[in-house]
């Protein structure tokens, strides 16, 4: 870009304006953009008028206070550093903001990258045209795509899916670390006899992971109840038919399906926070963990691609998987790759439970025992089978309203079980 046309001047001489206030509207060959003021102060002189074409480097506006420095248009295409500097709150020349800078020199023709690199770019939601290739002949390499995905490097900051999902996304940077060292324990022996037992490997793992999750993640819990009278009737009616097919129909299989369908519509609950990158990682697969109580302790095996499987298949897989876990025959792959977890403590009773998120997932759903309750329906008190649910989620990623909506989606699915059978 070498020149731009001034469309409108939004300030008057003598105006006192703050930094970032709209200063000018200019039209380049790329776009019409509003230029914010790079500094606050009093406008002493305006050097341009609407309709005028200005060359890059020409003064636009002079500010009064301090040394009377001149604003000048710089070329964002050629020199983003200059454009960046211009936007910094110093006495620097006014310039189109870096946001309008054409990201790469290559404007026409297909992106120079191999099909495999292009696939990677899609996976990481990186716009290839905005990546400056470092390979021979400007070819975009896998490394370039990864670098673009993990944060801005120079002029070519890619728009990631996460950044697009949220409103204005600044540059990604690590979150501040939270340290929590275990304080020394008191000498318990001073109050009576004690015994020390070593932790099993599993117990140690659970302890470490729960500490990690509870320390790192600000947990919020949301409570709801689902009327599963109809769903329960369906399960009861079909128990025998399913058994003939060698499947034990359980509420948990329906819960898994309902959760997966709700996750499809609420992708933030199927994500992970990457504090190092300052990004949300939205997973496009729906692998749900199920908390299984074993004699040795809690294990969470993972069922894959729940969104694409019918309930009967989920029930079959769940039974087989739970058996493998209880037999101690689960493979590492059975336990990895989950995106969301369900824990059903109904068999053991309880009216509600607040689960801890299975790090690094974003949310976990706990259900307690379903009970017949007196419920008012159309002015009548009727007995309905009510299932208490608790959704615990990561407040860094989702807010209370999001959690309420997500939980409500699950409740609605459980209350209209035919939708679970159809999807």
């Amino acid at each position: 870009m070498t020149e731009a046309e001034i469309v409108a001047v939004l300030v008057h001489e003598g105006d006192v304006i703050r930094e970032d206030a709209p200063l000018l509207e200019v039209e380049t060959d790329k776009a019409q953009v509003e230029i914010p003021s790079p500094m606050g102060g009093r406008v002493e002189k305006i050097h341009v008028e609407p309709g005028q074409t200005v060359k890059v480097g020409a003064p636009l506006v002079t500010f009064a206070d301090g040394a009377a420095e001149q604003g000048a248009a710089t070329s964002p295409g050629r020199s983003t550093t200059a454009a960046r500097a211009a936007a910094a709150p110093t006495r620097a020349p006014a310039a189109p903001p870096p946001a309008v800078a054409p990201p790469a020199v290559r404007a026409e023709g297909p992106a120079a990258a191999t099909p495999a690199t292009r696939r990677l770019a899609r996976e990481l939601s990186v716009d290839l045209k905005a990546v400056r290739g470092t390979g021979p002949g400007g070819r975009v390499l896998d490394e370039d795509v990864r670098a673009a995905a993990s944060g801005p490097r120079g002029a070519a900051a890619p728009a990631t899916a996460a950044a697009r999902a949220a409103t204005p996304a600044g540059p990604a940077r690590p979150l501040a670390a939270v340290g929590a060292d275990t304080p020394p324990l008191p000498r318990f022996e001073q109050w009576g006899p004690v015994e020390r037992a070593p932790l099993s490997h599993l117990r140690r793992t659970i302890a470490e992971r729960m500490t990690l999750s509870a320390t790192l993640i600000p947990h919020v819990s949301h409570f709801d109840r689902a009327d599963i009278t109809d769903l329960d009737a369906i399960i009861t009616r079909n128990l025998e038919a399913a058994r003939v097919k060698g499947v034990t129909l359980t509420l948990t299989s329906f819960l898994l399906k309902a959760a997966a369908l709700a996750l499809l519509r609420h992708p933030t609950f199927n994500a992970s926070l990457d504090p190092g990158a300052g990004e949300m990682v939205l997973k496009r697969y729906y692998n749900l963990g199920v908390a299984v109580a074993t004699e040795r302790g809690l294990i969470v095996p993972v069922l894959r691609e729940i969104d694409r499987k019918p309930v009967l298949e989920i029930a079959r897989e769940l039974a087989a998987l739970a058996q493998r876990v209880r037999d101690g025959k689960a493979t590492l792959d059975d336990l990895r790759g989950g995106t969301f977890t369900i824990t059903n403590i109904g068999a053991l009773g309880g009216t509600a439970a607040i689960p801890i998120i299975n790090y690094p997932e974003v949310a976990i759903l706990a259900v307690a025992r379903a009970r017949q309750e007196a419920v008012v329906r159309q002015g009548q008190i009727v007995p309905r089978l009510m299932l208490p649910l608790t959704l615990t989620f990561d407040h860094r990623i989702a807010d209370g309203a999001d959690g309420a909506r997500f939980a409500s989606e699950i409740v609605q699915l459980l209350e209209a079980p035919e939708r679970l059978l159809w999807e």
Binding site: A107, G109, T114, P115, R118, R119, E123, G137, Y285, R308
Partner: protein, 464 residues
């Protein structure tokens, strides 16, 4: 719903069993999606296998053998006059070529658990297909559908086509006889391929093309060697000429060519292009949108239509109407359905005209690259300098390489000469992977082969 209707529920219903349809269905099945194909003829292969690419290439092979035998006289080998018996020729094409491939596709479908339902499929809404098989009615409820209904030959607007002597490409491939005088209307790839087949089999071929050139839109450098050959082979080529009327008169067809008067032929082949088969399948009952021009189904790079449940692939989605584009799109649609990050973002879609000599190209032509505002450098390697071309007595070929002047990236390649259709594969890989001319120039190409032409062209640019 009427009692007794058969209703199937599937995850994916593919409408049309051509290359786009079966590629999509096979990939869906591989990715664990329950898939059925609905095909009017209850077979996989589509126009490509039964009335297009495959049978035409079988006949072109016959033509090539005849031409080679004729050429052999130059180096002292005379086979005598060929005698052509149509029955065994048709039988070979139909059973040994088409039939064999069709059985192969059917067994692949069986192995992958893809059911092929026979009947005309019509959308009732965005989740139901009605399938008409004679009197019985069957319905398929689907989670997703992939429209792959392809294309069919265009007719000549205003001209009757009721005579069996006026054939479209499908009828011409049946090889009803070898007409003494054949009029080919249309100088595109279909007219040229079938025109050369019939000319080699003994017909006197007259070709009429409405525009001023054969293979409109194709690089002239590539067309020229073919033009020289068909100028000799055909009785006449009338460019810039329209057909005013066609009438069957006794056992002949009288054609009136604008500005040339009436002429009589034994048969006429109408090869003026193909059109989308987007009508009559109930798309109006869905949210699928069609383009104004050509009535093609509008799709995005992920083969999604405006209807979230319905995808579309292949000829029905627009130019270029090529089986291999459809196959790639079919796989993309399947992977997108399965939640994978696939997209039809291919840079190079090779195109091949299977005439003698063959013409093939991929990526950007010199003209297209310049239209995109790119500064290009171009190398033309004449096969007169190729050892391999000399040994097969064919020095009329050319390999043309178009590269970006500043980066050296290979943007496009055009080849004319025997085997161009095979040679273009390397070029497609180069363009698709954004290879540089240096990459091509330093890759060792076997000697003596025609493939050296691309290396020579790249070396020339590297030195330039």
């Amino acid at each position: 719903m009427v009692m007794g209707d058969l209703v199937d529920e599937v995850e994916v219903a593919v409408l049309g069993g051509g290359p786009g349809g079966y590629s999509a269905a096979f990939r869906c099945a591989e990715l664990g999606l329950e898939t059925v194909v609905i095909d009017a003829a209850q077979r996989l292969g589509g126009a490509c296998l039964f009335e297009g690419c495959i049978p035409s290439k079988a006949l072109l092979h016959v033509a090539a053998v005849l031409n080679e035998a004729e050429r052999a006289k130059e180096f002292g080998v005379d086979f005598g006059e060929p005698r052509i018996t149509l029955d065994p020729l048709r039988k070979w094409k139909q059973e040994r070529v088409v039939g064999k491939l069709a059985r192969g596709l059917a067994s692949v479908a069986k192995a992958k658990g893809v059911e092929v339902i026979g009947g005309r499929g019509v959308f009732e809404d965005s989740s139901t297909l009605r399938i008409e098989v004679g009197e019985t009615l069957r319905k398929v409820r689907f989670k997703h559908a992939i429209v792959a209904t392809g294309s069919r030959p265009s007719g000549l607007p205003g001209l009757t086509r009721e005579s069996e002597r006026i054939m479209d490409s499908t009828a011409a491939l049946e090889l009803p006889d070898i007409p003494e005088r054949l009029l080919v209307i249309g100088g595109g790839y279909i007219g040229l391929e079938l025109g050369t087949v019939y000319a080699t089999l003994g017909s006197r071929v007259t070709m009429v093309e409405m525009t001023a050139e054969l293979l409109p839109g194709v690089d002239r450098d590539l067309v020229q060697p073919l033009q020289r050959r068909v100028d000799k082979m055909f009785a006449a080529i009338h460019l810039g000429t329209k057909v005013a009327t066609l009438h069957e008169v006794g056992s002949e067809v009288e054609a009136v060519l604008e500005g040339r008067g009436a002429e009589r032929f034994d048969r006429v082949l109408v090869a003026v292009g193909r059109r989308a088969q987007s009508d009559g399948i109930g798309l109006e009952a869905t949210r699928v949108r069609l383009t104004e021009r050509g009535r093609f189904v509008q799709v995005d790079a992920r083969c999604r239509t405006e209807d979230p449940r319905i995808y579309a692939v292949g000829d029905v989605t627009g130019e270029p109407l090529l089986a291999h584009r459809a196959m790639r799109q079919g796989k993309v649609a399947a992977e997108v359905l399965a939640g994978r990050p696939a997209a039809f973002d291919n840079v190079a879609i090779p195109a091949v005209v299977f005439t003698d000599p063959e013409i093939a190209w991929c990526g950007s032509s010199e003209a297209q690259a310049k239209d995109q505002g790119l500064t290009v450098k171009v190398a033309k390697f004449q096969w007169a300098a190729s050892g391999r071309a000399a040994t097969i007595g064919r020095s009329d070929g050319l390999t043309k390489l178009v590269a970006d002047a500043s980066s050296g990236r290979v943007l496009g390649v055009g080849i004319v000469g025997p085997g161009a259709g095979e040679l273009i594969a390397e070029a497609a890989l180069a363009v698709e992977t954004a290879a540089l001319i240096e990459d091509v120039a330093v890759t060792i190409h076997a000697h003596p082969t025609l493939s050296e032409g691309l290396m020579e062209a790249a070396e020339h640019l590297l030195g330039a």
